[in-house]
């Protein structure tokens, strides 16, 4: 197979032009806002309308790709090396990426609109929109890129913009720390990505995903070595490395996904990232950036061998369970959703690992909408609480309460009826109750895990049944914590006056949100109803999304489970998974009702600030003490290593260098003596004789160097003439 044919340039079409426009528009808006933002009054509208326009363009691209069944692919040589392969860059939109394009720009537009009110009082209003735009660009870059190198570049850009947005309120110490934490933990994953890229380059000599897929399908395993054979400009290249590197490569790329999608053990940045503005959390930490990890997995899915997939499945399951369990006892309204996001992403990653490719992507899209809806409605609640704080301040009551603490809320359904309805719809989807999108997609994932476990146990891996077990357990906790949030925030009594007794009539100052915030909420709630994705509320496979996206068969030479076998088993397990998930979700909501819904009149606050919570509860609140572990063990270990290296440097290397220095001083003294008496003596003699000759010949010379040169040239001329003729 000729590598240069695989990565030959592809022409620039009209649709590719539109796609590049989609990519460039947010950059343009970013530049306008950056340089002229302070001059323009309606800068927020520029950003919103620009993003809306982008959404329309994306929708057009989507319709072209989806209905005409075509793929936009534009590729050109970036660096061309004579006699070897080129390095290409390109833009590729297939069904999956165009769908992601639409959902990213859609949610981004809604978040822009929502932010207009939410961020209205902020001094750095313009900067906020500029960041949002540059974030959207880099996200679109990841989606559109046709090779891993380009994905890596935009991957880093997404990390950077996420850093900027989490630390947007840079006056807050916690926000700065959260942004640094997010950035560093993402970097840990990205190192894995880089290592994976290096192995890919060494083996395949290209980063282009299509070419990689072709190369992988032709690779073989010979004597435990992974062997690739292809030609570059006619020369045959045979590359062979031990099998383990194929796994290491996959693990490296998966590490990037672990960082970005907040999977175990790097998930601790996501709860802290809630320090950023709430619309940002909705856009980045629910719908887009964290989904990028899953998207990357989907892109490289056929290139992962089964060891990696098992690791992926286990990691996803662990994250799903840990996230869900930690979410059950958080009291910060946003952190509940943050842990929920970790858990749901764990679901998607787990689904990828068990080979439920379509189910994972299906859940990616449904989750993007309902989680963005949840975040924005929670944002509305926080907004209302903030306003309450301001109103009370005007009334002369200076209460410094935390507007995000759920224990200060309660009964808000009367004060915020619109938000309540939206929250109910989106939470319904999150809990995975029937008639919602979340139900359909979660059911698909659960069926996938059961099918995988069955197939694995046929191969002798009976332990695989633990994965569906964890998945159902997680589903229970998901329903439980969503139910808890619903009951604690919207039902019962308003609890602020119980803590701050001087704010008795605070409840009547809470007002529902304005229209600019209502529209996004309404649209996102609509997107959480099953009919958007599938006509049959109990079977996602009937829906257009399932029909449209085609799963790619694995291209690696060692495959454990046949994908057709897996899909047949999935069909088989569909109704079992459905029934079980209904049962589990119902049990979860029921438990939440029993614990928080029935006796909400009880003084919750007292029980929640109890002095000595049980071990399980403490584990949950502190997210299994992961932060503590990292801080006390990983960080201190690194510091110790650094200290010992410094010690080594001081004691051994410095001493050795000093010794060498002393040695040289001694040697140079000897040399100096020799220089003074022997060399100088010789030179002095020469100089003396030369000066004698010079002074004697100076009489015929004027001391003008250039004239000497001219005379010399005339002499040379004579020589030349003698040579030439």
């Amino acid at each position: 197979m000729e590598l240069n044919h695989l990565i030959q340039s592809l022409p620039f079409s009209n649709l590719a032009a539109i796609a590049s426009l989609v990519f460039c528009l947010p950059i343009l808006v970013f530049l306008i806002l950056l340089f002229f933002g302070h001059l323009i009054k309606k800068s927020d509208w520029i950003a919103t309308i620009g993003m809306g326009l982008n959404f329309v363009l994306c929708a057009y691209l989507f319709s072209q790709i989806w209905f005409n069944n075509q793929v936009i692919h534009w590729r050109f040589d970036w660096i061309h090396l004579a006699g070897s392969q080129s390095i290409t860059l390109g833009l590729k939109l297939d069904k999956l990426s165009s769908l992601l394009l639409v959902s990213v720009t859609f949610i981004s537009t809604l978040v822009h609109l929502f932010s207009q009110d939410y961020m209205h009082d902020d001094k750095q209003y313009v900067r906020y929109f500029a960041y949002l735009n540059v974030f959207t660009t880099s996200m679109l870059g990841i989606v559109m890129a046709d090779n891993l190198l380009l994905i890596f570049v935009f991957w880093e850009l997404v990390g950077l913009t996420s850093y900027l947005l989490i630390g947007f309120w840079y006056q807050k110490d916690t926000a700065i720390r959260a942004s640094k934490k997010a950035f560093l933990l993402n970097k840990i994953g990205d190192i894995g990505f880089l290592a994976g890229l290096m192995i890919i380059w060494t083996m395949c000599g290209t980063f282009d995903l299509e070419a990689l897929y072709q190369l992988y399908t032709t690779s073989h395993i010979i004597d435990g070595n992974w062997v690739l054979t292809y030609t570059v400009s006619g020369l045959v290249v045979v590359k062979s490395i031990p099998m383990i590197w194929l796994t290491v490569l996959g693990l490296g790329i998966f590490a990037a996904c672990v960082g970005k999608s907040a999977q175990f053990p790097l998930q601790i940045w996501l709860p802290d990232a809630m320090e950023g503005p709430t619309p940002v959390s909705a856009l980045i930490h629910a719908a887009t950036m964290v989904a990028a990890g899953v998207y990357l997995l989907a892109r490289v899915f056929p290139l992962l061998d089964y060891h990696v997939l098992i690791v992926v499945a286990i990691t996803g399951a662990i994250s799903a369970l840990m996230g869900a369990y930690a979410a059950t006892s958080q009291y910060d309204i946003k952190k509940i959703l943050a842990y929920s996001t970790i858990s749901q992403l764990g679901y998607m990653v787990m689904a990828m690992g068990v080979g439920a490719f379509k189910a994972s992507l299906f859940h990616l899209f449904t989750h993007a909408f309902f989680k963005a809806g949840l975040f924005l409605s929670v944002g509305a609640v926080i907004h209302a609480m903030h306003h309450l704080q301001h109103t009370l301040e005007h009334k002369g009551l200076d209460l410094h309460f935390d507007p995000q603490n759920v224990h200060l809320m309660g009964g808000l359904r009367k004060a915020l009826p619109f938000t309540f309805v939206i929250y109910c719809v989106t939470a319904w989807a999150a809990m995975g109750l029937p008639l919602s999108t979340g139900f359909v997609s979660k059911d698909a994932i659960l069926a996938g895990t059961l099918a995988w476990a069955d197939a694995m146990s046929n191969q002798g891996y009976v332990w695989a049944y633990i994965i569906p077990f964890i998945a159902f357990f997680t589903a229970f906790f998901t329903a439980f914590y969503m139910g808890r949030q619903l009951f604690v925030v919207f039902f019962g009594e308003f609890k602020l006056p119980k803590v701050y007794t001087n704010a008795k009539d605070a409840f009547k100052y809470i007002h529902d949100i304005e229209w600019k915030m209502k529209i996004p909420l309404l649209l996102l709630a609509c997107m959480s109803i099953f009919i958007i994705f599938t006509p049959n509320p109990f079977d996602g496979e009937a829906g257009w999304l399932y029909q449209g996206i085609s799963s790619v068969p694995s291209a690696v030479p060692n495959v454990l489970i046949n994908s057709t076998e897996l899909s047949e088993l999935t069909h088989h397990y569909h109704w079992i998974a459905l029934g079980l998930s209904l049962l589990v979700a119902g049990a979860g909501v029921g438990a939440a009702y029993l614990k928080y819904g029935r006796n909400v009149a009880n003084n919750q606050i007292a029980s929640n600030y109890q002095s000595n919570p049980g071990l399980m509860k403490r584990l949950s609140i502190n997210n299994f003490y992961l932060d503590y572990l990292y801080k006390n063990y990983a960080t201190s270990l690194i510091i110790k290593v650094a200290d010992s290296i410094a010690q080594f440097d001081n004691k051994v290397i410095d001493k050795a260098i000093n010794g060498i220095g002393v040695f040289y001083v001694i040697v140079s003294h000897i040399v100096a003596w020799k220089d003074k008496y022997i060399v100088d003596g010789f030179v002095n003699t020469v100089v003396f004789s030369v000066s004698k000759i010079g002074t004697s010949s100076a009489k015929i010379q004027g001391g003008k160097v250039q004239l000497y040169f001219a005379w010399m040239l005339i002499g040379v001329m004579g020589l030349l003439i003698w040579f030439v003729w």
Partner: protein
């Protein structure tokens, strides 16, 4: 209009002679240095022009790379010398630096 070997040689020759002219006539030491650089460049032109007929061993190119390296070293050292000379004589006029006369 064809790019011939002779054309390159002609350009090299012209540059060389301009360099000679500069070296002989200019008073400023730094100008003389510039003339030397021009001459080095003229030699490079010739070497490269011939190197075209030696596409695999490219000795001409090798040679010119070394010339460039040495020219850089030469310029650095020469300018250091110029600075010292300026410190000593408070001038860079070559005609006034004529201590060699006596």
């Amino acid at each position: 209009m064809k790019i011939t070997l002779e054309l390159f040689l002609l350009i090299g020759a012209i540059l060389f002679c301009l360099g000679l002219y500069i070296i002989i006539t200019k008073k400023n030491v730094i100008m003389v240095l510039m003339g030397i650089e021009l001459i080095l460049n003229a030699s490079n032109v010739n070497l490269l022009a011939f190197s075209k007929f030696d596409p695999f061993r490219i000795q001409g190119q090798m040679f010119s790379i070394f010339i460039i390296v040495i020219a850089a070293a030469e310029a650095a050292v020469a300018l250091a010398i110029v600075l010292r000379v300026y410190e000593l004589y408070k001038t860079v006029d070559l005609d006034k630096i004529n201590q060699l006369k006596d």
